[in-house]
Subunit: 198 residues, 2 copies
DNA sequence: GTTACTCGGTTAAAAAAGCAACTCAGTTAT
DNA sequence: ATAACTGAGTTGCTTTTTTAACCGAGTAAC
């Protein structure tokens, strides 16, 4: 069931991680457009074409962290236990994310994570591309919810809610508060928001 | 003047070093024939055919340290300054080796080097292959010295002398003496041996 | 206004690595 | 004696990586 752990696969995963780590740390250090892809390739000791075989664009070097969560909402809906409604399933999933301080919930005060968020939202080309990811995510969720305009509306609202919640949490963290401190009100916000959805 | 330092060359050199290091440390740890080439390949995280692209046989994993000195004597003779006779040039070169405690002179008491020598000379297949290297080295030296039986005799004698000297030094080290301690008498031995050659 | 750089991204060909299956010897088990 | 194993080394095929050269957009220089 799990991926084959051959030599090839292992090295590929390691190269991918190395690229991701090097590029993010370089971006945080000098800013997104003061680092060229050639710099990154040199840091990882691979060639430029190889780098682009792992990540299609420069933006994806940053956004793969979101891309890796791609379709998560849709999956949660599809894999929900029988007799459970979609929205409560997403609610539960988001609460679980809060409990483990998943960065996508905005509730994480690791300096690296905070700096990363700042990087994404203050770099126009990154923010732009991020919305494209969110659109695809939304479409996938809509498909998982069913067909027609109702499903699409519901998907859009759920993801909008999640974005607002994450943004709110992140703002509180950016104001200097600790994730543990914000945790309970983040839960309350989430409960209220998802309650209001139905 | 120096080799091109492209990405490919750098990685190749690093892989070669990794193989050499891993195999020698495994051999020293468990003995030459209690380690399979597959074990080594696994330790370096490369495939078996790849390993054999770097080293032609299992023995060469150990003996490349000698192989890398291959043809050194011949080169010394060819590159000697004008007006210098071959044998004195070789003499000087051997003395220089002693002065920097070059492992090939046997005058080196690093535990790793000592263990390495022991490994080579107590493993029959290694000792056997080593003599083949020495033969090739001898032929190259003979060619550098000129043609005919005289050159061949001279080459054989020079290399025999070097082997005896190295073996003598190694024996003293094996008896527990330190390289620095043995150094002066090693020089004296060398002087006498090369003098006797003339 | 052309010229020349830089940077993101691509292409084609060649080198290198991985994989699986194989040969060939020598050992061990039955 | 034969069957089953193990380990060195090879072979053919596929995937990955390097290399050098290029394209096209932006931009700074003169």
């Amino acid at each position: 069931m799990n991926e084959p752990t051959g030599l090839r696969a292992r090295k590929k995963a390691r190269t991918r991680d190395a690229i991701a780590d090097a590029s993010i740390s370089l971006f945080l250090e000098r800013g997104f457009d003061r680092v060229s892809v050639s710099d990154i390739a040199a840091a990882v000791e691979i060639s430029k074409p190889t780098l682009f075989r792992y990540f299609p664009t420069k933006e994806d070097l940053v956004l793969h962290r979101f891309a890796d969560h791609q379709g998560e909402a849709a999956r949660v809906v599809r894999d929900r236990g029988s007799g459970i409604e979609p929205v409560p399933a997403l609610h539960r999933h988001f609460r679980a994310g809060l409990d483990r301080f998943d960065p996508v919930t905005g509730l994480n005060d690791h300096p690296e994570v905070v700096a990363f968020h700042r990087l994404v939202f203050t770099t126009p080309s990154l923010a732009a591309r991020l919305t494209r990811y969110q659109l695809e995510d939304e479409e996938a969720l809509a498909d998982a919810l069913g067909e027609g305009i109702r499903a699409r509306l519901c998907a859009a609202q759920v993801l909008a809610v999640q974005r607002v919640l994450a943004r709110t949490n992140w703002q509180k963290i950016a104001d200097g508060r600790t994730a543990r401190d914000v945790h309970t009100e983040a839960l309350a916000d989430a409960d209220q928001a998802f309650e209001h959805l139905r």
